[in-house]
């Protein structure tokens, strides 16, 4: 909390902000707006898919997963989730892990979203994080989870803002999986971790 480096960085940031107020303010304004627009657009698209009467369960699911693949940066997520252990994987293992983790998350995301068909999502605003990511804040309105806060952590990759974490009521998806994978990596190693991901993905049990 009171890491001197952090404090120093904060003072530096403040100093910069004071010195370059016009420039800084301008740059800040552009970035969070863009990221927020991506989330707003995604929300609309998800709702449109969920409410489209022309789709059956299968095509709806496929559409949701496609959208997820487009909006999430699964590669970054996979790396963040493994954290230090990322380097313990060989390059082919890394590729395989990203691929499996991606289909796991896309599937999981599809499951979750399908349960939320009556809710509205209100986009409340965005905040720039110290190192340039943007957190877009949303709130669920209606349904069982009315009032729940869902934050999307966004990072700019090239021209696009992509989601790198979803934080529901303070519970970060990345942190949650990092904790789980750390256990598996520590006890059983990378081969077993990838195996288990595959098993999960192959299991038919997932939802409707």
């Amino acid at each position: 909390m009171s890491d001197p480096r952090v404090r120093a960085a904060r003072w530096a940031a403040l100093a910069c902000a004071l010195l370059w107020l016009p420039g800084g303010a301008l740059a800040d304004e552009v970035a969070p707006g863009e990221a927020q627009a991506v989330i707003e657009k995604t929300v609309d698209e998800v709702l449109a898919i969920l409410r489209d009467p022309a789709r059956d369960a299968k095509t709806r699911r496929a559409a949701l997963e496609d959208l997820a693949t487009d909006r999430f940066d699964f590669r970054t997520m996979a790396r963040l989730v493994l954290a230090r252990s990322w380097k313990e994987l060989s390059v082919p293992q890394q590729e395989e892990f990203v691929e499996q983790f991606q289909s796991y998350l896309a599937n999981d995301y599809g499951n979750r979203i399908e349960r939320y068909d009556q809710e509205q999502v209100e986009v409340m605003g965005a905040r720039v994080e110290p190192r340039g990511d943007v957190t877009v804040k949303t709130k669920i309105v209606g349904g069982e989870n009315s009032g729940a806060l869902v934050d999307y952590r966004m990072r700019k990759q090239g021209v696009d803002w992509r989601i790198i974490d979803v934080v529901i009521e303070g519970i970060s998806l990345v942190a949650n999986f990092r904790d789980q994978f750390r256990d598996v990596m520590g006890r059983e190693g990378p081969v077993s971790l990838i195996e288990r991901l595959k098993e999960k993905n192959a299991a038919p049990a997932a939802g409707a």
Binding site: M1, I171, A175
Partner: protein
């Protein structure tokens, strides 16, 4: 007299365990007795909650899972089929409304007058307009429910949570939050002021518990399925959730500090994080 003794037992029970978390060595989990007065108040170490009591916790967790699987979940499933959705919601509302005075007390203890005022309104609206709390008109007027409990109040005043602790039957907690739970459970508070015999409170508590469980049948099943290691998933989620609650959900304050904690979660610094 009797009440005082009851309060004392409730309060003191988990208190000896309130030692701050040991500077836990990740793998070698010491037994609870070995926990020493460490220094770090936070339980997060590089993004993980420390869990010095893990071997014991895992056993209790497995026990709780067993109870849930073989008893609570089937009962709640039956309840879910038998009781119409509207009634379930009303029962939930009723117990929520009963719990409101405790939340009010905690808001006052946390020096949050505006919230306390809002909760007071909520109680008034829902008790009168909502027919004794069965309905929730307050939410329609944007008077939302807050969720302060004694564990959060203790956290607010700097009491460390202590190590992650899975309590038999009650589930994930910590010494601090379990203290709050023991004192703060709806019925125990009511029973504390009004001499209600156990054969009345026990079934009411049961209804509250089953009704609650019925509301999350789907969610819990899905989470169990999705998790790799359900124990770790729950521990991680619980710890993050409680920390966030004590910090008071990011929207309430402008959270300068918030971002800094996150940096090691979102950047792997050894390999110059950008990209």
């Amino acid at each position: 007299m009797d009440a005082v003794r009851k309060a004392a037992t409730l309060l003191l029970l988990p208190l000896p365990l309130l030692a701050p978390p040991a500077a836990a060595d990740d793998r070698e989990a010491p037994a609870p007795a070995v926990v020493q007065a460490g220094d770090a108040p936070g339980t997060r170490q590089g993004g993980t909650p420390g869990d010095p009591w893990e071997p014991m916790n895992r056993r209790v967790f497995a026990f709780n899972e067993g109870v849930d699987r073989w008893f609570l979940e089937p009962v709640a499933t039956g309840w879910d089929r038998a009781v119409p959705e509207v009634a379930q919601r009303s029962i939930g509302n009723f117990f929520d409304n009963l719990a409101m005075p405790i939340r009010l007390a905690n808001e006052i203890l946390q020096a949050k007058p505006w919230r306390a005022y809002e909760t007071l309104w909520r109680i008034a609206i829902n008790t009168v307009g909502g027919v004794g709390g069965l309905f929730d008109p307050a939410s329609h007027f944007q008077v939302y429910e807050s969720d302060e409990d004694l564990g959060q109040t203790l956290g607010y005043w700097g009491v460390p949570s202590g190590p992650y602790w899975v309590v038999p039957l009650l589930g994930p907690s910590s010494p601090r939050d379990a203290t709050g739970l023991a004192v703060g459970s709806t019925v125990s508070i009511v029973a504390f002021f009004v001499p209600i015999p156990l054969y009345v409170t026990a079934p009411t508590t049961a209804v509250d518990v089953v009704n609650d469980r019925a509301a999350s049948l789907e969610t819990i099943r899905a989470e169990r399925e999705a998790a790799f290691d359900f124990y770790t998933a729950v521990r991680s989620a619980y710890t993050q959730y409680r920390e966030n609650r004590v910090r008071d959900r990011a929207d309430d304050e402008d959270d300068e500090d918030d971002g800094d904690d996150d940096e090691d979660l979102y950047y792997l610094d050894e390999e110059d994080g950008d990209e």
